[in-house]
Symmetry: C2
Subunit: 319 residues, 2 copies
Amino acid sequence: MTLPVEAWAEQVRAGNVRAVSRAITAIENHQQEAEALLRLLFPHTGQAYLTGVTGAPGTGKSTLVDRLAAYYRKKQEQVGVVAVDPTSPYSGGAILGDRIRMQGHAGDGGMFIRSMATRGFLGGLARATAEVALLLDAAGKKQVLIETVGVGQDEIDIVRLADCVIVMLVPGLGDDIQNMKAGLMEIGDIFALNKADREGADRLEQQLLAMLSLVMPRDGWHPPVVRTVATENKGVEGLAETVAKFRMHFEASGERQRKHVEHWKNRLLELLGSRLLDRALGGAAGKAKLAALAGEVADRKKDPFTAVNEILKSSGLAS
Amino acid sequence: MTLPVEAWAEQVRAGNVRAVSRAITAIENHQQEAEALLRLLFPHTGQAYLTGVTGAPGTGKSTLVDRLAAYYRKKQEQVGVVAVDPTSPYSGGAILGDRIRMQGHAGDGGMFIRSMATRGFLGGLARATAEVALLLDAAGKKQVLIETVGVGQDEIDIVRLADCVIVMLVPGLGDDIQNMKAGLMEIGDIFALNKADREGADRLEQQLLAMLSLVMPRDGWHPPVVRTVATENKGVEGLAETVAKFRMHFEASGERQRKHVEHWKNRLLELLGSRLLDRALGGAAGKAKLAALAGEVADRKKDPFTAVNEILKSSGLAS
């Protein structure tokens, strides 16, 4: 099917599921069309509210995200879910997973779920996630939920896309809360203490509150702790209301706008970087040259700095 | 102290702890001197064997790495340890941690430990870790241990530097082994089942072996599972012997050389990318331009692709 990109963009804006799915695939595969499409859609974005949900494996992210999605659907808001799993660098299984998750929302046209796994390209996942979020925004999803296994820098980059970040914790995972949460503590706008009916929940909440008391409030916001039992749909409404409170707080203070400018600075840098790399190494000759130089460097016949200067010179990009 | 870079390089090669420390700081801070130094040292590298140790928080990585280091020291091999913690994007505490860890090796000149936290620059941590590993290699550390909290893409990039990757698991962490280990399964050359005296160790080992049986052996190597209790120094010798076995296997097959070429391909790409970005946006004017464009994009006055084309044109890099 060769649909003109303008017609495709119209279908995306109308929320056509197949058009959106194909657009995501185009983004993931770095197809040229993706850029043309996003260029057309861009003026129609900026309407969605992005909520990031992150936490260690086993904290119940998917369940919580599904429950939040159902909550927004009940309020007649259209929902998009992007589940990012950087732990699967070689992909696989994502589509099956989406099918299983969609069963709970079968026949609901106001709901869109997509999983993404790492494709191995440079800085790729955060960028692709951001582009998919834009696309869902253009498709009229007013609530976009971004779910990612949280620990590394890549997830932190992904979650920074979001307007509001929910960090999930559960009792009994690991020996010591301080072990892993240094980074997460600082990016969390709201903490969801999930599986709150389990042993150790009270102690975890106390530890959490003690740690949070050490974190500087950002712009007058003290990250609250919300207890949930996502599997039983307990506390989910309260969590969604806390997100709404956070949203009001930051839209009033102008902090959201500041964050968006910062976000676009980073996005432009990434885009610029990949453009320049394409220019320096575009085509088969560039790739062959890179492979040859890598071999020489591995054999210590040439140092990496000299090798890079050679590429710059031969591509006409040297200063 | 303004030491000529040649003299500094000599001191690094002699294993002078202060010279090595200062060089790592220069790498972390992206100082110009770092490149000059690495250029001089590069021909003297390629002697170290890099072992990566990764696993979820709470699996006991630091303890195991310390034990492995002690094992190599007993064999009179010089050891360098790089502990990378991408969960601390805002840094802090690393130096104190190093001091505490060094106490166990007090006065041992053949042992060097350094922690690194994310500095927030683009693709920075994997690159800095790779450069620090080169430096330790040049400083005569025949065994370099790279320890990182494992889950995200960034850690996977870091651990891919290594010649041999040990993935750590412990019983009772999280509900389901399959939850988190898809990515780790594929990068592990050896699996260390730590805290193997705990309840659930046998079951975890069975699950692990079942999953590993599904992973294709690479170049004839079936990743083995080694049980350890690092705190009691149990199984550490067996683990080190398994690393040695893996090393022999891959040096014989030529796989190590292939991996090195692949590694240098990625490194050259990163280096090239950061060079080009410096050219496109170098100086205060470039930064101001980026900030202004980011503001326009955030306000939807301009799409990101048009913005990037403007930067390319104004820097003379447009094709």
